[in-house]
């Protein structure tokens, strides 16, 4: 009964190698190097895109029931979220404007991958449709807005 036999390559001693074998040795080295690199990039993947997530949820914790229809004197409630995916610690500045007037400002420091959430309450003071409630997020000490959100509030 025959068994599996392996025909091993002849000696790899460089002294006896021809051009063909030198090329083979170089190519084997290239394959080993490529395999190692491939394993490296799979095992230690490059970090993904860096960004900050900034969003609002209604008071029920879902993306609904935003306080867009209020009566004069009524409080509107939303939950503000900031998530830091910048792969570094970041100090944010959050500003809230209602009808162009600053009604709230605060500093938020988040470490890498940290999520911040805060309920926010505002009061509807005057009648009018589509009054802009604007949430502006600045990163570190930049003066240009980094992320912006808004709600149009109608007050009767």
């Amino acid at each position: 009964m025959k068994s599996l036999r392996i025909a091993y390559p002849r000696s790899l001693n460089l002294k006896y190698l021809g051009k063909e074998k030198i090329l083979s040795v170089i190519l084997v080295a290239a394959i080993i190097a490529s395999s190692t690199t491939l394993i490296y990039i799979v095992v230690i993947p490059k970090p993904g895109e860096v960004f900050t997530e900034f969003y609002l949820l209604g008071s029920n914790g879902t993306a609904s029931e935003y306080p867009t229809d209020l009566t004069v004197g009524e409080d509107g409630k939303v939950i503000i979220f900031i998530v830091n995916y910048e792969y570094e610690n970041v100090t944010y500045r959050l500003e809230v404007n209602f009808n162009g007037s600053l009604i709230h400002a605060e500093q938020v420091f988040l470490i890498e991958n940290e999520k911040w959430e805060s309920p926010f309450k505002f009061k509807a003071t005057k009648k009018g449709i589509n009054q802009k409630l604007e949430f502006i997020l600045y990163k570190d000490h930049e003066t240009k807005a980094y992320r912006t959100l808004h709600l149009y509030v109608s007050v009767i």
């Binding site: 036999r5 490059k46 900034f54 609002l56 992320r147 808004h150």
Partner: protein, 720 residues
């Protein structure tokens, strides 16, 4: 391996089985060794069930390529039908989640052990091993070829993270160079043509599939949705009325690989499916090697791969990738004259049924071909026709009629395939796959005479008549039309036996049917567009590719004859050299290499990172996932490309906004992707995707301007 002594064979199988259990156990206790489980899992699922079935069937001495292809085909079929079996029967035993991780691990392990016992009972005495020649493995042409797929992986890495297409371009140039080297008989010997085909196939596929860290393209997002649904529910709901849901190639195969290999479905679709699909050109090469010769088989398979549908469109059609593997296996069975009738019938049924549950479009075309092939075969046998043929052969050919091979495809199989296919499509997923076929057929028949050869209705003709947007595009068109011309010439010269080939009757009959399908795509209204012209052309090339090479040889020889040369062996070799150069240039066009060098836009997205295309960055995907987490029943609107990423998570709630949309239902969400934030959206008008200036659109000024912006991550915004 199926020819080895059984004890050695069993040792390897059981070692892999234990290795699989150990890898799973290590993962379970939190000791994860990167890559190991994925690697073992892939080998285990792709090869073990298939090779065991080959031993149970006592199929030996098949040759390396056939052994690999039949093994993979049988394994994939086993996995799909095992999943189906589990889904149907396990609930009767109180298992409410029949397709869970544990359920798959236990079932597949038991299946492997049963197959081991069966193969021992049936095949324990066979032993006729082949030798592994390490001398060949370490030869410089082999090593050179083995390096190429790495180039593909590193090229996409460089492109994804450093915006450089240098390695991608280098890869395409190397692949084109291999074609010329083989055409000129330099460096790569004949025994490595099959390896060259596999390496080119895998490299071309990976150079696109690995673009972006997420899925790109059209249908694949819906395939992901249904595959993920099965993975999340651990159950396949066959009643969901959607034709994608009826395809086990996505609803079973994806979750099985994902669970066993502990790999996300995204990477199953981006790595494993293309790897399985890369075997298709190898199968085609083997078929054509049997029907023609090594060089023609290589060039035909190269042409098949150089048509961009292979390395572009197909990557976004996971179900068709698997279906094409079964199609090529069925063709391989058709030309394989060494397998005994009973075993052949078993393989035909397994691969035929697997094709039917993998992709409806391809199954319908195969069904149509089967139905049409029998009248042709009948005519071929007709006495009068035989006499006419003999007269023609005497007039044009030096050789005699060589249709001596036995016919390998039985009417019984054809009937069984048709019944199974129709039954599957009628009973699964509320007959959606069946009704789409009826609808298309009805549409084609009702417009057949009214719009015959009307370019507006016949998509194939429209593409041929369409004017190129630059001189280079006009040249490219010639490179597309010439192969069509070669195919027609090839079919005629083969029919007249001017160039003597070994084609069997069935192959010729299938080629005639596929030529008719190809021409129908050009002339018959809505025929090609129902499947997509490029995809129809690609499918017909399974049978027509060799005729392109034969037609090319005939054409070059005819040109030479004008200058006084004879049709000799030497002239044929010279023609093949010219053809290899032609196909290499063809690839440089179809891959976008030439357009990138000439900076002639649009350049394929795999070479141009700025081109807008349905590929999605991390921020866009993150925003889509957020929408799913915090919203419930309201519809979500996005532009033509943006809707695709949403399909993955909330398929049924996704709608498309148009530039002229003036109003949306109350409560609806609007998803903006990165390109929308840059000021433009994509809209589809008359089957063409157009860039529209978003801030000046009616939609923006009537709808968006009044909406609340509730989410912003810099790459995507959501309005409500």
């Amino acid at each position: 391996m199926n020819d080895w002594r059984f004890s050695k064979f069993l040792k390897i199988i059981l070692s892999l089985q234990f290795a699989m259990w150990i890898a799973i156990a290590l993962d379970a206790i939190g000791f994860q060794i990167p890559i190991i489980r994925q690697f073992i899992g892939f080998i285990y699922l792709t090869f073990i069930p298939g090779i065991l079935i080959l031993r149970v069937l006592k199929l030996h001495k098949l040759g390396n390529i056939e052994t690999i292809l039949y093994t993979v085909g049988l394994s994939i079929a086993t996995l799909m039908f095992s999943g189906l079996f589990m889904n149907i029967f396990y609930p009767f035993f109180g298992i409410s989640k029949p397709l869970s991780n544990l359920s798959f691990i236990i079932t597949i392990s038991i299946l492997v052990l049963i197959l081991c016992a069966l193969s021992y009972a049936r095949d324990k005495d066979f032993s006729n091993p082949t030798f592994i020649n390490f001398e060949n493995l370490l030869s410089s042409p082999t090593l050179f070829l083995l390096l190429i797929p790495f180039l593909s992986v590193f090229g996409t890495y460089l492109f994804n993270f450093y915006n450089s297409n240098v390695l991608q371009m280098f890869l395409i140039a190397i692949v084109a160079m291999i074609c010329i080297l083989i055409g000129l008989d330099i460096f790569i010997p004949k025994n490595l043509y099959s390896l060259a085909i596999f390496v080119i196939s895998l490299s071309l596929l990976y150079h696109k599939s690995l673009i972006s860290m997420h899925l790109w393209g059209w249908d694949i997002h819906i395939e992901y949705y249904f595959s993920n649904l099965v993975k999340i529910d651990s159950f396949w709901n066959s009643g969901i009325p959607n034709k994608y849901n009826a395809m086990l190639s996505v609803t079973m195969l994806g979750p099985i690989f994902s669970h066993i290999c502990n790999l996300s479905l995204i990477w199953v679709f981006k790595i494993i499916y293309p790897l399985l699909f890369s075997l298709v050109p190898l199968g085609l090469y083997r078929v054509l090697q049997k029907e023609t010769d090594d060089k023609i088989a290589f060039l035909s398979s190269f042409f098949f791969m150089a048509v961009p549908t292979f390395f572009s469109d197909m990557l976004q059609l996971a179900r068709q990738q698997i279906a094409e593997l079964f199609l090529v296996l069925l063709i391989l069975l058709m030309v394989d004259k060494g397998i005994k009738k009973t075993k052949l019938s078993i393989l035909y049924i397994i691969f035929g049924f697997s094709l039917a549950v993998s992709h409806y479009g391809l199954s319908y075309i195969y069904m149509l071909s089967l139905i049409s092939v029998y009248p042709i075969l009948f005519l071929m046998k007709n006495q009068t026709i035989q006499e006419v043929k003999a007269t023609i052969y005497r007039r044009f050919s030096k050789s005699t009629n060589n249709d001596l091979k036995k016919v390998n495809i039985s009417p019984g199989f054809a009937l069984l395939f048709i019944i199974f296919t129709l039954a599957w499509y009628i009973y699964v997923s509320n007959s959606t796959a069946f009704f789409s076929f009826v609808r298309i057929a009805d549409h084609i028949i009702s417009t057949l005479f009214a719009q015959f050869l009307n370019p507006d209705a016949a998509e194939g003709l429209k593409l041929i008549l369409m004017k190129g947007t630059s001189p280079l595009r006009e040249v490219n068109k010639i490179f597309y039309i010439l192969p069509l011309f070669f195919i027609v010439v090839g079919i005629f010269t083969s029919s007249l036996n001017v160039i003597n080939m070994k084609f069997g009757k069935e192959y010729k009959a299938f080629a005639l049917v596929n030529l008719t399908l190809c021409l129908a795509g050009i002339a018959i209204p809505y025929f090609a567009s129902s499947l997509n012209t490029a995809r129809l052309y690609h499918i017909t090339l399974f049978f027509l590719a060799p005729f392109c090479v034969i037609g090319g040889i005939a054409t070059f020889n005819r040109i030479k004859k004008v200058f006084g040369a004879r049709l000799s062996e030497e002239n044929m070799k010279a023609s093949l050299k010219w053809l290899s150069v032609f196909f290499a240039i063809f690839l440089l066009f179809t891959s976008g290499f030439i357009y990138e060098v000439a900076k002639d836009n649009p350049i394929p997205f795999s070479l141009d990172k700025n081109r807008d295309y349905p590929r999605f960055n991390y921020k866009e995907v993150h925003a889509a996932k957020w929408l799913v987490d915090v919203t419930d029943s309201y519809p979500i609107y996005a532009d033509q490309f943006g809707r695709l990423v949403l399909y993955e998570f909330v398929f049924l709630r996704v709608r498309t906004f148009l530039s002229e949309t003036k109003e949306l239902p109350s409560g609806a969400y609007i998803y903006f992707r990165s390109s929308n934030l840059k000021g433009f959206m994509v809209e589809r008008k008359e089957k063409v995707y157009l860039d529209i200036d978003l801030p000046n659109s009616i939609f923006y000024n009537k709808v968006i301007i009044k909406k609340n912006r509730i989410y912003d991550n810099g790459g995507s915004k959501i309005y409500h």
